[in-house]
Structures are given as C-alpha cells and as structure tokens.
Assembly symmetry: C2
Homo-oligomer: 143 residues x 2
C-alpha cells in the first residue's frame, strides 16, 4: 500500500501560508483548521518550508510575545522532507518515526499534492498489518 491510498481517502487539500505572513496568522490558521502544521509554498506551489505547532512554541520560548509578529519564514523548517504518492507506507512510516516528523508534504512533479500526518500513516499501517495477520491465521486454520 502506498501514500496514494491515504490521499485517495483524505483528499489532496493542504493548508498553505505565505512566507511573509506572521506567526500570529499561522497560529490562527492551525487553530481554525484543527491541524498541527502548515506548508509554506511559493507562487508555483513549490514547497519552500513547513511550520508546525512545535516551531511556534519554540519561537515563543525564545522571543516571548514578540514572536507573534515574526514572519513565518523566520521560524519555518526550510529543508522539508517530502514524499511522492508512490512511496510505500512502511517506508514512509520508518522515515517519519526515525526522524520524528509528524507531517510530510506529498509532492508531484515538484508541486504540492497533499500532506500526510503520522496519524494517517499509522492508521493505515496498523490496519494493513492486522489484515495480513488475519489472513495468515486464516491460512493456518484452514491448511
């Protein structure tokens, strides 16, 4: 099973913000959508960064209330780990748990095509393992 299966279920929508928006605007966006990260894109929908709840909390810790007026570009992660729709779920899950990413933008020919969270990946991976497990047990029971 690949990332495509996740996006087929959850859709290709992905909340984005411009690099010159403020962290206060980014906090509003995360809060309104009930999400943990927002992708920063250039005019051609190329991914130029990602900003998480954790990045906002770090900036508040470092700068206090002044963090609110800082541009998103000052706090975002610039070296974004992305995946394609063809990546398998176990592969992606291993990359995410190893490097402790919670969100990975999906890129198609250089352009943002969706986003998957560790929650999406885990849900699919566990369901997959449980199905395989049941199939093996069934095989043993009827062999």
């Amino acid at each position: 099973m690949t990332v495509r299966a996740i996006l087929t279920l959850k859709g290709h929508d992905c909340v984005t913000i411009a690099p010159d928006a403020t962290l206060a605007e980014a906090a509003n966006l995360l809060s309104q959508h009930g999400i943990g990260a927002v992708v920063i894109t250039g005019p051609d929908r190329r991914v130029i960064g990602i900003l998480s709840e954790r990045d906002i909390v770090h900036q508040i810790s470092a700068l206090g209330a002044a963090a609110m007026n800082q541009p998103v570009a000052s706090a975002m992660t610039r070296e974004v780990v992305t995946c394609t729709e063809d990546e398998t779920i176990p592969q992606l899950m291993q990359r995410m748990t190893e490097h402790r990413f919670r969100h990975v933008p999906v890129v198609d020919r250089g352009r943002l095509a969706g986003i998957v969270s560790i929650g999406d990946v885990v849900k699919h991976r566990v369901a997959e393992l449980e199905r395989e497990h049941d199939a093996l047990k069934e095989y043993i029971a009827t062999a």
Copy 2:
C-alpha cells in the same frame, strides 16, 4: 504487552508544571525538554490537567500576545484521560486514535507514574504486530 513495557524502557519521569505558572513558562518547558505536552499536578502528584502545544497555539490564536501571561489553568484540559500500567497497548492505542489524544498520563493509585505518547504506543504496537507476523510466517514455512 502492556503500558508497563513502555515505561520500563522510557522510565517514569514526567515533566510537570503548576496550574498558576504562565503559558510563557509552559512554552519554555516544552521547548527545553523537546516535548509536546506537560502534566499539571496538585501537591500530592494527583493529575489535575494536561497542556499541549496545541492548547498554547489555540490560546495565541484567541488572545494574541496577551496569551503569554495567562495561567496554565486557563488553557489546560481538565478532563484528562489517563491509563494504568496494566492497560494493553492495542487498547490504549485505540482510545488514543479514536479521541485524537497524543499524550496519556499513567496513574498508579491516583498518582502520576509516567506519561506515554502516541509515538511510544505506535512504535510498540507495530513492533508487536511485526513480531507476531514473522512468527506466523515461520510457522507456515516450517509446518
């Protein structure tokens, strides 16, 4: 496998904060420890709340910079879902993914005894499923 197996590996330490600390202090604590949530305890180590990165971002979204000086008690979740060391990992994982909690304090005779994150739970559950899977395949191959 139960929650005890997770705590045996990661230990019983759990970062806590008092209910009258400010959100700025809580943000510092999360940032320093690289964690996503802090437990609020009373003097007897009873759990009275939990505060996550998301709760801080919500308060910033609602109040702007003024959020920084608010007490933790004003933003924390008061109805905390807890578990015991005897709860099985699949059970806890189901509760966490259903209700979308990322952190669950572990309680022993009413007192805080540790904390498990969705990352801890998933790592153990996937490892467990993969082991069972390999055992079943081995059984089939040698039967």
